[in-house]
Each structure stands twice: as structure tokens, then as C-alpha cells.
């Protein structure tokens, strides 16, 4: 998957996780929702791992390059990727 496509997938699954999160805040014993929330969270974690191994860190904690702190590389999210 391309970097942009992978990022789009992460945003989609993370957003779905967030939707179930908000729903569960007010319906904490809905078993079906709990199952779906878990699935979205797991898929998001999996995609984030794939992204970070190929394209660099999404959080400073996953900056893995032993030679240079790749957290500070550009572009930042508010900048257009050409």
C-alpha cells in the first residue's frame, strides 16, 4: 500500500474506533459494540505498525532510527505533500 493510502486507512479505522468509543461511553455494556470497538482498535494498531515500519514514526515513542531522530522530519500534517 502507498503511504497516502495507508494513512487514509489508518484514519478511517481510527475514526471508527473513536465512534465506538463515544457510543460505549454512554452504552458501556453493549456486547456487540464492545466487539466492534475491539476489532477497530486492533486493525488500527496493525496498520499503524505497518505504516511506521515503512514510512517513519506517527508518535515520538516510535521513532526507531538509531542514527537520527526521524520524528523531526518534514512534512508535518498541516503541510501539503507534493
Amino acid at each position: 500500500m502507498s503511504q497516502n493510502e495507508l494513512l487514509k486507512q489508518i484514519s478511517a479505522y481510527a475514526f471508527a474506533e473513536k465512534e465506538w468509543n463515544l457510543y460505549l461511553d454512554t452504552h458501556p455494556t453493549d456486547k456487540d459494540a464492545l466487539k466492534k470497538h475491539k476489532a477497530m482498535a486492533e486493525k488500527t494498531r496493525e496498520l499503524v505498525k505497518e505504516y511506521e515500519q515503512n514510512f517513519g514514526p506517527l508518535t515520538s515513542m516510535s521513532a526507531l532510527d538509531p542514527n537520527c531522530f526521524d520524528w523531526i522530519t518534514e512534512p508535518w500534517p498541516w503541510e501539503q505533500c507534493n
Binding site: 515520538s60 520524528w71 523531526i72 522530519t73 518534514e74 508535518w76 500534517p77 498541516w78
Partner: protein, 192 residues
């Protein structure tokens, strides 16, 4: 984007209610030199910074300030939560209590609500970073003042942590300012 972690950056366990102290400490929540002001300043200034290092630093410090805002809010709440109505009435917290009860509201110790005029965004990295250096020192002074009037070790332990973070942030801002002034200045003014 941001994710919330259900933990404080530094633990807060205050045993004794103290509404007077709460009315002072709240200044570092919503006052001009407080943590909301700091986080909004850095997270707003970062868009127009010239390089990855400065964008990263403002993002990271601005994010840490959000965690500090939570710590200061926690101190205010714990100092106010178990104070009696009488203790509150006989303290400077009484005026705040009329509108905000034992809750946490972004205002300074005079009751002035948070105002974005407490900081600037000029889109000039030198002007913005020099402001940031001053802001860290002003926040450090407020923590010094809290330590002068507080004799509660549970509060002072946390305030000392927050005070130290101001000093570290000042150091890091100084280093990026130096980087920009010595190596990046021509790039900025050549319409990169």
C-alpha cells in the same frame, strides 16, 4: 491529531483542602502565564515555523503543556473539593466559588477569565521564539511565587516539578533560536 492517556504526567495526591491556595494556583490554569496560554501559544505558532526541528519542538512542548494544564486543574480540584462552605467563604476562593463552585475554570487569581491576548503569533520565528523564552520565565516566576506562599508539601512537590519543566523548555527554545539565527536565517528571508 491527539490521543488521551488516562494518567497524569506527574502524580497529584493532596491530603489537606486549602481554598486560599486553590485561588492562587488556578492562575497557572487560566492566567496569562499559565499552562493553557502556553499550550495555545506553541500549538498556534508551530504552523509558521521554518524547519522540522522547530515544528517538532513547538508541537512537543505545546503537547506537554496540555498535560501540565491537567496537573494544575487537578491541584485546584483537590484543594477545593473537600473544603467546607465556611472555609471557602473566609478565603479569597469565595468570589470564584459564586460562579464556579468547587470546579476548575480557566481564570487568573484575580478572576479574569482566560484571554488569548496573553500570547502572540507573528509568523516571524525569531519574534515568536523570543516570546516563548520570556513566557517560560514568566511561568517559572508564578511557580516561584506559589512556592513562597504555600507550605503544603503535597502541593509544593508538584509545583517544583512544573517549575523545572519551565526551565527545561526555556533551554530547548534557546537552542532552536540559536539554530535558526546561526544557520537558518538566510533561508527564512529568501522566501523558502
Amino acid at each position: 491529531m491527539w490521543n488521551y492517556q488516562k494518567k497524569l504526567q506527574y502524580p497529584v495526591h493532596i491530603k489537606n483542602p486549602n481554598p486560599k491556595l486553590a485561588s492562587y494556583v488556578v492562575s497557572q490554569y487560566g492566567g496569562p502565564n499559565g499552562e493553557i496560554s502556553a499550550s495555545l501559544r506553541y500549538l498556534s505558532q508551530r504552523y509558521s515555523m521554518p524547519d522540522g526541528m522547530t515544528k517538532a519542538l513547538l508541537t512537543d512542548i505545546g503537547t506537554e503543556e496540555l498535560a501540565h494544564m491537567e496537573i494544575v486543574g487537578t491541584i485546584v480540584r483537590q484543594l477545593a473539593k473537600n473544603a467546607t462552605d465556611e472555609e471557602i467563604e473566609n478565603s479569597p476562593f469565595g468570589a470564584y466559588f459564586m460562579n464556579h463552585g468547587r470546579g476548575v475554570y480557566p481564570a487568573d487569581s484575580n478572576g479574569m477569565p482566560f484571554n488569548a491576548l496573553a500570547f502572540a503569533v507573528t509568523a516571524d520565528p525569531i519574534a515568536d521564539l523570543v516570546e516563548d523564552l520570556a513566557a517560560e520565565q514568566k511561568a517559572r516566576v508564578v511557580y516561584d511565587n506559589i512556592l513562597k506562599v504555600s507550605d503544603d508539601p503535597d502541593v509544593n512537590d508538584v509545583i517544583k516539578f512544573l517549575r523545572e519543566r519551565e526551565v527545561v523548555h526555556f533551554q530547548r527554545f534557546g537552542e532552536t533560536l540559536d539554530q535558526i539565527q546561526n544557520t537558518k536565517l538566510p533561508k527564512i528571508y529568501c522566501g523558502k
